[in-house]
């Protein structure tokens, strides 16, 4: 049995990745389960999906706590304590990370077999958008050793189902193939999770006054630092700025502060929607790819 866990951000397409891998494995003759964690569907918010592949019928149900393969589509998720994508992995787990950094950068931190590729760059070139579903599915299919023809068939089937047109399907089959050829098949070692067994804790009845969550802080969400969501970074060229305030007023989530009569971007929180770039009448805000 191979357990694959996908971590990404809403909009990158991890749910689709897990489905494509599942369908490709099914077409190759395996028993398969694939499913995401149900939650609000939000672009940028952490997303988790799973695929289980087996030669025997799969009797277990539920999330994967001890993955053989982890695919992390956004390295900034490693910093997200709530998601904690490497949770439950063992020394033998294989961790694939999409990043423009090199493997050594992650090796020490993660302490498992790490494979790193800059898939976002390929997605931007091939698809024109930072959508990673088919690239990651390609990587996953190769790692677990599925034949390329089943991968291609699965991409087609899954994308048709979500209403993609022929051109998108063609481009995505190309993307999947590129992902497939970026990595080598790996040997999957069956191991036990390093996590201690999960204990069921009984929660006693408490008066709602005690048991209802109350947040006594105000406006503390900035601590979550959604700046990690950015693919592109807006940069204000102050020589060109005429302090018209449009970028400031239109920034959806107050990630632009108004200081000394100029806009100042709060990069810890700017999500990189690029509304400010689009709306600046003087083209005073430029774009660079994050991390460059």
């Amino acid at each position: 049995m191979i357990k694959v866990r996908f971590h990404g951000r809403g909009g990158q397409g991890m749910k689709t990745s897990s489905r494509i891998l599942g369908t490709a494995a099914f077409l190759s003759g395996f028993f398969v389960q694939d499913f995401p964690i149900y939650g609000a569907e939000r672009r940028g918010a952490p997303v988790v999906a799973f695929t289980i592949i087996s030669k025997e019928p799969i009797l277990e149900r539920g999330y994967i706590f001890d993955p053989n393969i982890l695919l992390i589509s956004d390295e900034t998720l490693l910093l997200d304590k709530q998601t904690d994508p490497t949770k439950g992995m063992s020394k033998e787990s294989i961790v694939f990370i999409n990043s423009n950094k090199n493997e050594d950068y992650f090796k020490e931190k993660i302490g498992a077999k790490v494979i790193v590729e800059d898939l976002t760059k390929i997605a931007l070139e091939v698809l024109g958008r930072p959508i990673l579903s088919t690239l990651i599915a390609g990587v996953a299919a190769k790692l677990v050793g599925i034949e390329q023809k089943y991968l291609e068939e699965a991409v087609k089937e899954e994308l048709e189902q979500i209403g993609a047109n022929e051109e998108m399907i063609r481009k995505n089959i190309l993307a999947a193939t590129i992902g497939y050829n970026k990595v080598q098949e790996v040997k999957i070692e069956q191991t036990e999770s390093l996590e201690p067994e999960v204990k069921v804790v009984e929660v006693e009845y408490n008066d709602p006054e005690i048991s209802t969550p109350v947040i006594s802080f105000v406006a503390n969400s900035y601590l979550k630092k959604t700046g990690t969501w950015r693919v592109f970074k807006p940069i204000i060229k102050y020589q060109k700025c005429k302090s018209c305030r449009l970028c400031y007023v239109y920034c959806p989530e107050s990630a632009i502060k108004w200081e000394n009569n100029f806009p100042v971007i709060d990069y810890e929180n700017c999500k990189g929607c690029l509304i400010c770039v689009q709306e600046c009448p003087l083209k005073a805000i430029e774009i660079v790819r994050e991390g460059e």
């Binding site: 609000a40 503390n220 007023v249 239109y250 920034c251 959806p252």
Partner: protein, 318 residues
Amino acid sequence: MEARKMKLEKKIKTIFDIPIQEYVAPGGIFCQGCGAILAARLILKLLGERTVVVNAAGCFTLAVVYPYTVFKASWLYTAMACAPAGAQGIRDALDILIEKRKIDKNEDLNILVVTGDGAASSIGLQSTITAIHRNLDFWYLAYDNQAFMNTGAQKTETTPFGAATSTTKPTSLSPLGTEQEPLDLFSVWVSAGAPYVATVSPSYPVDFLDKVERAKEIKGPKLFHCLSGCPPGWNYEPALTIKVGRLAVESGVWALKEAVNGTIKHTYIPKKRIPVEEYLKIQGRFEHLFKPVKNKEAIEEIQRKVDKYWEYELHDAK
């Protein structure tokens, strides 16, 4: 009479009149380029932190996820059908506290219901109508992304004719996607007798906030029905949220207006309306009207309805 008085007192005249105080923090789990949170950020600039936000299930559910909140204001979460009932409870509690002199009159709070169109136009309409009927003194920001977005873009009562949603996918049998006309929430509120009803757009923040500032003088239910661009649900790039809203208004698809004690007035009349096609074609939810072959009939029908609306409204205004 009151309408006339309000017209004279335009309070937010330019973008520089919009306060730079912030009452919504970044870091909420809203998509990049979310028009709905922008609308909430703007309205709270004028209502301030002495406000209780009452919210029903929808995308704003994740505005407050323990232990984080995006709001400086207080926040109460209700079941989807009954945000206005939650507002009533808070109003009653405040009134009693003031009457018993437990709090001072100037410690009173604004009550702002914030819900999506699904709650505002279908699931929560009953509790809304009854709150209007009781003349409850509260504000209502209905951010209208024209579908049940939090659960994956299912059609609501305000989904426009011709839009694709996950429950009205265009097929060969039903090539339009959504076949119904959207419910006119503005008229529902006006006919229910609400003293202040407005349509707004975050792309027109001066118009929006001027309405909020002037409405402060009115006691009773106050609606701000806000067309709020939704990048994933409408399928366009996040950077285009403001532009989409602007095209909606300039094409006449979204009319900016207000009704003060039943007297309706357009607060912005596009000088020369651009073709609705400009608005439709940049959104993926209307792509099937253009590809693989252009559905001229449907686009013309949408244009015709918009033209008819303005012909009637402008004639009436003269």
